[in-house]
Each structure stands twice: as C-alpha cells, then as structure tokens.
C-alpha cells in the first residue's frame, strides 16, 4: 500500500525519492506538469515540441534529483532545469535565445521591487503581458513570465536564470517600457 503524500511538501517528496522511493516521482510530475507546460508554451508553439521538452525536463529532474538540496525550494530548481532545456531547444532550432554576454549582468543595477498594486491586479497584468509576449526578446520575456505567471520573486527568478537579482528587476522594468507602445497600438489601456 502506497503512503499518501498528497499533503507533503515538494521537498519532503524529493527526500523520499532520494532515499529510494522513486514511485513518488509521479506526484511531482502531476504537480508541475501543467505549470511547466504553460511555461514552455510561452517559448514554443508546436505541441509535439512542448511534449518532448516536458518529457526531457522530467527525465533530467529524475536523473539529477540526488543533487537537489532539500533545504532549498524545489520549484526554483525544477524551473532552472526547464529554463536550460528550453534554451537548448531554442538553440537547436536556431531561434533567438539568451545572449552569451549581456551588460545587464555585468554592471550593478539599481534594484526596484514591484509595488503591491501590481500584485493586486495580477489577472489584468497577466492578460496585458500575454498580448505582448511574442514581441519581446527572450531575455525580457522570461523574467516577466516567471514573475507574473509563475509567481516567483526576484531571487527565485535569479536562481532560475542564473543572473544577478538586480538584473531581474531591470529586465522586468525594461520589458514593461517596451510593452507600453505595443499596448497603445493594440489600444489596450494599461498604466
């Protein structure tokens, strides 16, 4: 009889898998399949591609699960693997991907956290952002998705993308600046 782990945290389930109970891995897949699928869909359009990438992500998670430190947040680690897999997939398809070197990452930036109002209007913002995503470069698109759609904070986004925390804030700010004229042209009123 299998132990009921539905109430357990991700990290506790990972601990069980690490100690040999691999049968609980499907609980993690079920918890994150839809979320990671939604994240992948912001970069890829072909359903078959998305399915392949999802499979590869969960296979990599399983293979490398012993490297996960259960004191840290599992979702950030999972998104890090998903980020790498998506970047590799986009590279293979020779689509534009993250630049190898960016001045944003090199120089210190003034960190500006988003205010509470923005959080309160999350649904509105998600709709707004969704309309412009295709027109944004990946380096701006990804932090925006992770912040508004996946509900991550700057530190978590920094861990996923392995960039400085201040750069995350700057990229989100720039993404919003880029979106403004696009939204105007779409006659969408957002301020």
């Amino acid at each position: 009889m299998r132990q009921d782990v539905s109430e357990e945290t991700d990290e506790e389930i990972v601990r069980l898998i690490q100690s040999g109970s691999f049968e609980f891995f499907d609980v993690l897949i079920k918890r994150y399949e839809a979320k990671i699928g939604r994240y992948a869909r912001k970069f890829l359009s072909d359903n078959e591609d998305i399915s392949d990438v999802l499979q590869n992500i969960f296979i990599k998670v399983y293979r490398n699960i012993q490297s996960f430190d259960v004191k840290r947040k599992f979702s950030s680690w999972l998104y890090r693997i998903a980020h790498n897999e998506l970047v590799n997939d986009l590279k293979k398809k020779k689509k534009k991907t993250l630049p190898l070197f960016d001045l944003d990452v090199f120089l210190p930036q003034h960190l500006r956290d988003n205010n509470l109002n923005e959080r309160l209007e999350l649904k509105d913002i998600q709709e707004t952002v969704d309309k412009c995503l295709d027109k944004l470069e990946i380096k701006y698109r990804e932090p925006l998705i992770l912040y508004y759609f996946e509900g991550m904070n700057y530190k978590e986004i920094a861990d996923v993308m392995q960039i400085p925390v201040s750069t995350v804030g700057v990229r989100i700010k720039r993404a919003k600046e880029i979106m403004k004229p696009i939204l105007k042209s779409l006659k969408y009123n957002h301020e």
Binding site: E33, I59, Q66, S67, V105, P108, V165
Partner: protein, 247 residues
C-alpha cells in the same frame, strides 16, 4: 491537454520502471562539486604564481623602474611587458569567473563585483608571493640546471633581456664608470659620460643599479642611472654560479 499530460507522466514513469532512466548517485554530485572547488583552488594558485612571476621578471630585468627614466622608457615598458603571460592570466581569470558563477552567492551579484573580488584576491596573493624568495630560488635553480620541467620557462621568461635597460650589482668602481654583474652576462661595463644623469647618492660596490642606455660589445653608454633597493632574494650573496653559467 489532460491526455497529453497523462501520456507524459506515463512515458516518464514507464522509462523509470523499465530502467531506461537511471538516477545519478549522490557521490557523483559530491565528486563533481569537489572537483569544481579543487579546480577553482588550483586556478587561483596558478594565477597567483603567474602574476608574481610577471612581477618577478619585470623586477629582474629592471624594466619595472623604466617609468622613472621618462616617457621614452614608459613606452619601452609597455613594449617589453610579457604580453603572452598577461594574456594567459586574463584568460585564466575569465575561466575562474565562469567556474565561480556556478555558486549561488556569485551569480546573484553582478559580474563586475565577483570579477573585482577575484582580481583583488589574485593580485594580493601575487604581491605576497612576490615578497618571498619563491621565484628567485626557482630562478637560481633553473640557472644552475636543477629545475627539471620549468627550467627553460624560468630561464626564458624569468630574466628577459632588453637592449636599453640593464640591472645589476656594482662589482667594481672604475675610471669613468662601473662594472656590474647580472644574471646573464655576469659582467658589463657601464660608462659615464657628461650626458649621464646620475642619482644624488654616491654609487658604491654592492649597490644594485638600473642603467638606461644602449649596450654595445659588453659596454653600456649610460644615459641615466638609478640606484634601487638591494633585493634580498633576487641578488643573494654568493648565488652567482661560479662555473658553468647557463644562459
């Protein structure tokens, strides 16, 4: 969508059950992290040695003091820097930054910060090593032929020879000049002319001097002479090889 999700779940779980996908053991990751840390340590030590060696080679040739002789010598210093070693150092510092960025506390901060810390650490380390007799001992071992492997490296880079800058210990004060001893040629005669700019202090036997002037047939017509500190480890007493000087 649900079907797609179920199929992904089933595919992955089936692959796990069939043994097609294997979990990497914890020891693999422990060893990988240990290897990364060891590589960082080795790189830091290597860069520190390289920086201190560059400083040593500049001091050993006297080029380090060339800016004191005015603008033409600054230009000469620039031209005589060991650019190959400097380029290797820069490449290794970049490599060190790439390795260090694997750690959370490094990548969360702008590259400029981690790069500045790395540069500060390796230069400080290089400066401290340069204050020890480490390189001069190895240099002398290389000169005496007792340094297998690195001997030619020390002989080639450790004491570069320049046309206009010469450093040595005054072995004898002669009429209108001095004889100086250096690592390579042992004795060079330095001629003083009315145009020679001399230091304010008197030059005596045993002083270490740097001479700016073109050398011709073992003789330098000095344009400018500077006294420098006797480097306890670079010109140790009785360390000039008596026989079989290797050049």
């Amino acid at each position: 969508m649900n079907n797609q999700q179920n199929s992904i779940n089933n595919k992955v779980i089936n692959k796990i059950k069939s043994g097609n996908i294997k979990m990497k053991p914890k020891i693999y990751f422990v060893l990988r992290t240990a290897l990364l840390m060891l590589s960082i340590l080795v790189l830091v030590l290597f860069i520190v040695c390289l920086i201190s060696f560059i400083a040593f080679s500049l001091r050993s040739s006297g080029v380090w003091l060339s800016p004191a002789f005015g603008f033409p010598c600054i230009k000469m210093l620039f031209g005589s820097l060991p650019w190959v070693l400097i380029l290797i150092t820069v490449v290794l510092i970049v490599l060190l930054e790439i390795f260090a960025k694997k750690f959370t506390f490094v990548y969360r901060k702008p590259i400029l910060y981690s790069l500045l810390i790395i540069i500060l650490v390796v230069f400080l380390g290089g400066f401290l090593i340069d204050k020890t007799p480490f390189h001069s001992n190895l240099f002398w071992k290389a000169q005496e032929g007792h340094l297998p492997g690195f001997g030619s490296f020390y002989r080639d880079f450790g004491n570069p020879k320049f046309k206009n800058i010469h450093q040595g210990v005054v072995s004898e004060v002669i009429n209108n000049g001095f004889l100086i001893e250096n690592h390579r040629e042992r004795i060079i005669s330095v001629m003083i002319t009315p145009e020679t700019r001399l230091p304010s202090e008197k030059i005596e036997e045993g002083d270490v001097i740097v001479v700016f002037g073109e050398r011709d047939n073992g003789q330098i017509e000095a344009l400018n002479i500077r006294k420098t500190k006797r480097d306890f480890n670079f010109f140790p007493k009785n360390r000039f090889p008596k026989k079989g000087f290797i050049d």
